[in-house]
Amino acid sequence: MNTNQAKALLEKYLAGTCTKEEKALLETWYLQQQLGDFQDLDDADRLQDMKRIRRSLQMRKTTTRRLSTGFMRKAAAVLAVALITGGLYVYTRKTDTLSTAAVEQASLAVPGGNRAILSFDNGTTINLSTDKEGIIAKGGTVTYDDGTALANQSDAQAGTIRQASLTTPAGGQYRITLSDGTRVWLNAATTLRYPLTFVGRERRVEVSGEAYFEVANNPSVPFKVSTQQQTIEVLGTHFNVSAYEDDKTTKTTLLQGSVKVNSPHRSEYLFPGQQAQVTAESIHITDQLDLESIISWKQGYFKFNENIEGIMNKIARWYDVDVVYQNGVDLQQTFSGKMSRSRDLADLLKLMEITGSVHFKIEGRRVTVMP
């Protein structure tokens, strides 16, 4: 475990540069520290030390100035007591009248919507309503956010079912509130596997795809999110995890609270505003992030600031299209921009074409990227 933050905090305290919260944290830790079995010094030994030290103190007739030891303040990360909340504004962009683009048929590439399938371990599956945004799972009963009952639910209650899966297709998104109050937003092409009721000493779910979590606080029962490459351990927090199978890197971004990312070879703690990038080989932590981009999907819009391949992957998942690249396209070229997710694909692509560095052709469900 990396103890740099602990050390840095102690040095701040000693230098007198702590914030109130940092002081509170250190002093609380000190107070509650269980010091274990304590084999005390002999009374006689202690008495001996008492006399020895008293002697040395009284011998000093004149006060001497001691050189103050300067504490090297490390440039390590400052304790993140300031919480970054996900309070972002929803951006709506006015469409400009654009020059014509090589768009042939836009009608089939419609933007995604609230689509998901809920399936239970006994085989029952329910197509969730596209008019609703989310469901609440409380033990064996599931209702929509607004309290409406699900169709076909009686089948689901039969037998001893412990687990269920919520799956969004390409072009789908949905929200679920789990039995402990944790809320999860699923992006497109995502599956969340969860127990109907959390029992036992931990709350565990599995994710493939991308999801945003607001974990209900319960310090005595840790919440764990497993993806193929890692397990995230959380207390009460808000974070985003992106673990698509076609991505080599699983990205976990923390907005508020505290998580621990466990991969088979290493574990790392995250501070708010940091992202852990897990690959098969390593975990890399970064705070050079555009937080808004990372959770823009949850707020209902795209915010890009990346290369074309990353953008097209996101477009493919939301609009449920296939993407083909022609020769000569510079895959590393980066674009930045914002657009509501409910816009047509054609509008989005037109936006990117303004730059003049890329062109698109839409044929049914296929998008061709051209230089």
């Binding site: 509170a24 000190y30 005390d40 030390d49 030290i53 103190l57």
Partner: protein
């Protein structure tokens, strides 16, 4: 003049501020055992603890002019020990499990933000440690913890028996103890030795 060991903490502090070496020695005699024991629980190394306590009292003497222990002398001394222990931990002079534990604690993010509550908990910690002192040392400690005015001085002042004074104070203490929101100073200093 009665022995310095009979004087209250407050009285000793004001004498210390005047540069009174006997008062300094009295404070040392009174608090050495408690502080040394507390530091040893953390540091578990006789030499290191010796350094800590030595340095602490040295500083106490050197900074006697500007001394103003708001929360009372015990709290002040305990906070000094705590700072020295932090120093040891930060510079790897004690076992590294403390750094790991602190790192863990940082990530749990739970702490007591209310300062008076932390002070109160520190008081309770000191009380527990006093209670677990060896009997002989505890008796010496208790005997030397007088109230701001000793019973004798009060009885002389008010022309009533010491017994009456004691009863009044104990009654007042019972009330004071219920109101834990009171300033640390009063809470600590008015505790009668017999209640420990």
């Amino acid at each position: 003049m009665s022995s310095y060991n009979d004087l209250s903490d407050n009285k000793l502090v004001s004498l210390l501020k005047e540069g009174n070496r006997d008062a300094f020695t009295a404070i040392y005699d009174r608090y050495f055992w408690l502080l040394h024991r507390h530091a040893y629980k953390w540091v578990r190394n006789r030499d290191e603890v010796g350094d800590i306590v030595h340095e602490l009292f040295l500083r106490l003497w050197e900074k006697r002019d500007t001394l103003s222990p708001d929360g009372g002398l015990p709290g002040y001394l305990y906070a000094s020990v705590r700072n020295k222990i932090f120093n040891q931990i930060a510079h790897n002079r004690v076992k590294s499990e403390y750094l790991t534990s602190l790192q863990d604690f940082i990530h749990r993010g739970e702490c007591i933000t209310d300062h008076p509550v932390r002070e109160k908990l520190l008081v309770e910690l000191i009380e527990r440690e006093i209670a677990s002192m060896p009997r002989r040392m505890r008796e010496i400690f208790d005997l030397s913890r007088k109230q701001l005015l000793s019973h004798r001085e009060i009885s002389r002042e008010l022309n009533i028996s010491e017994q009456t004074v004691r009863k009044h104070i104990q009654h007042a203490l019972r009330i004071l103890r219920v109101n834990l929101g009171l300033h640390f100073l009063f809470f600590f200093f008015f505790l009668p030795p017999t209640s420990l």
